[in-house]
């Protein structure tokens, strides 16, 4: 068998150009298929793991999608806020265990600023109920004491090179070049560990800080002639009058349907409560069509690559008829020839797949920053889960593509090699 293997390798080497092209085609096809699968998987991960342990997200009545967008993904903005007294009224519901207000609207160099209470860091959960952890520092102090303290998500700190103790200023609105709050700098007191969720991109401050920033503002612009210095703000009432949304945890998760109905029926203001887990699943269901279309497309690309392999092997088989017949006449068994051809197909497919993995690894390193812009955390490294199944099926198909010429070689008349053809 070793001799046959060596012959097979030499024969393949003699046809290295053609096989090389096929190999590259298979590599690109498998890389593409793997990429689609990985983006799909990672997008879903990033998506569904972005929040957990929160039973309801409450906001002013609009679309649930919008509410999820700004409250969880920090994207877009709320058209309406809800009044603080509504929030206070809701949380009197005995079924509610905890509630954390969210105030959005400001930014820091393109990163969203979230005004929230220190309870947020205790209550928020992502992935499999994992709590937030501090890489360095501590949460900002509650109330007046921590009014100019900020906690950064890991990515904010990493991309902007911040450390605990640095001072930053915020910008009004989401535009990077919007009107500033330069007169009121914040001290970074803590940096969160990476979560792979929108939390990483967020700058966290207290609700009081948001009020303080806007004391001398009205209607989205600084009031002319009025400037309240940072050291003066503590004299003012800083408890927020309005919030953007609220996260709610229940004492008993099973009460969620009832509490949701109660909040939706709140009479003081038009509110809506969304079950985040349900919302994410439902959204993903609508995306499933896009998802499977992508998968089918790349599966087709693989099919084309493998059909190319089979076609190449079959075309080569005609040229190799003589070669195989010579081997037969010299004592090679049909099994040997079958092994040579099927082995070649398997080898080319395997090398193609390996090259595809390498290509993908390279590409995902290059594309990771881009994907992060889209909120997807591409996991580099070895294939996992579904991807092995995909790789195995590519290999199996490659082998099958080699079986056809292998079978033909088996059946090929020995006479080919022993009778000269002119």
């Amino acid at each position: 068998m070793k001799a046959v293997l060596s012959l097979a390798l030499k024969s393949a080497w003699a046809r290295r150009l053609t096989l090389g092209i096929v190999l590259v085609a298979i590599a690109i096809a498998s890389a593409l298929l793997l990429a689609v699968e990985r983006v799909r998987h990672d997008a879903r991960q990033s998506f569904t793991q972005s929040v957990s342990g929160v039973d309801l997200v409450v906001g002013a009545r609009s679309s649930g999608v919008q509410l999820m967008l700004y409250a969880v993904f920090r994207s877009g903005s709320a058209t309406h806020n809800l009044r603080m007294d509504s929030f206070d009224a809701i949380v009197t519901n005995p079924a509610i265990d905890w509630a954390v207000p969210l105030i959005l609207g400001d930014s820091h160099r393109g990163h969203p600023v979230l005004g929230t209470t220190p309870a947020y860091f205790e209550r928020f959960r992502y992935a499999d109920a994992r709590p937030l952890a501090f890489a360095t520092g501590r949460p900002f102090a509650g109330g007046i004491a921590g009014v100019f303290e900020a906690v950064l998500g890991s990515e904010v700190a990493r991309t902007l090179g911040y450390r605990s103790g640095d001072r930053i200023t915020l910008t009004h609105g989401m535009a990077a070049a919007g009107p500033g709050h330069e007169d009121k700098p914040f001290a970074i007191v803590g940096i969160l560990a990476p979560t792979g969720t929108p939390v990483d991109r967020t700058v966290h401050v207290s609700p009081e800080a948001i009020t303080a920033l806007h004391l001398d503002w009205a209607g989205g612009a600084p009031l002319p002639g009025l400037a309240i210095p940072a050291e003066q703000v503590r004299k003012f009432e800083l408890a927020p009058q309005e919030i953007t949304a609220a996260l709610i945890g229940l004492k008993n998760r099973a009460d969620v349907f009832r509490v949701q109905r109660q909040i939706n029926a709140y009479r003081g203001e038009a509110l809506m409560a969304v079950m985040p887990g349900v919302a994410l699943d439902e959204l993903w269901q609508t995306l499933a069509a896009i998802e499977s279309t992508l998968f089918v497309l790349s599966a087709l690309v693989v099919a084309v690559g493998l059909a190319g392999l089979a076609a190449t092997l079959l075309a080569a088989l005609d040229q190799r008829r003589r070669e195989l017949a010579i081997l037969r006449s010299l004592g090679a068994s049909p099994g040997d020839l079958f092994f040579m051809l099927a082995g070649e197909a398997l080898l080319v497919t395997a090398l193609g797949v390996i090259l595809g993995i390498v290509l993908l690894a390279g590409a995902s390193v290059l594309a990771a920053p881009l994907a992060r812009e889209f909120g997807i955390h591409l996991s580099p490294g070895l294939p996992g889960g579904n991807e092995w199944t995909i790789l195995a099926s590519i290999l199996a198909t490659g082998l099958a593509a080699g079986l056809i010429p292998g079978w033909r070689a088996w059946r090929m008349a020995l006479a080919d090699g022993l009778t000269p053809r002119n």
């Binding site: 001799a3 046959v4 003589r322 037969r328 010299l330 004592g331 009778t419």
Partner: protein, 231 residues
Amino acid sequence: MAAAITITDLRYRWRGQPAPCLDIPHFAIAAGERVFLHGPSGSGKSTLLGVLGGVVLPEQGRIELLGQNLVALSARARDAFRADHIGFVFQQFNLLPWLSARDNVLLPTTFSTRRRQRSGNPQAAAERLLTHLDLAPPLWRQPAAELSVGQQQRVAAARALIGRPEILIADEPTSALDAPRQQAFIDLLLAEAAAAGAALLFVSHDVRLAAHFDRIVALADINRAAAEAGA
């Protein structure tokens, strides 16, 4: 010693043909005997070689090679028998173009244990044969496709000879060579067959090449089908 080849009552008919193209009551080649078989194109020479190689099965008759009836063997056993005991040289050289000259010569020893054992050290045997056949060592490592026609034919001869098979069959091996080289090649083949103690069946349409053989046979003389067709 037993005869190398004994054919008895052989009849072979191409599928769909009413008359047989081969009808040989008896034909034998002794061990070590060198026989020149000639006949015009289309007289059934290649078919006869196919029968002797076990590639085509006759509808009737005994084909004994070294005392073994080929017809009685299974396909697999025939394959093995052929690889073990017969060396072929063809009109077209049937070398693997991407394989070096020496590796081409070594091919029979990779598939036949018997040929490997009989060659002693296959590498050395291949190099000795190539040297005998006037191929200089620098050529040994060259891919067969890069050799000249004459060189390729000598590589093919060396491949047929390695592992000292008892029977050598050559089918128009000189037709691609020019006249002076034809005789030189035949002389080489004869000498090597003699050195290996192999019976040689040399088939050609060109009787002028027959000078140095032990025996010259016209296919028409042993093949009744040809005689009838001619009559």
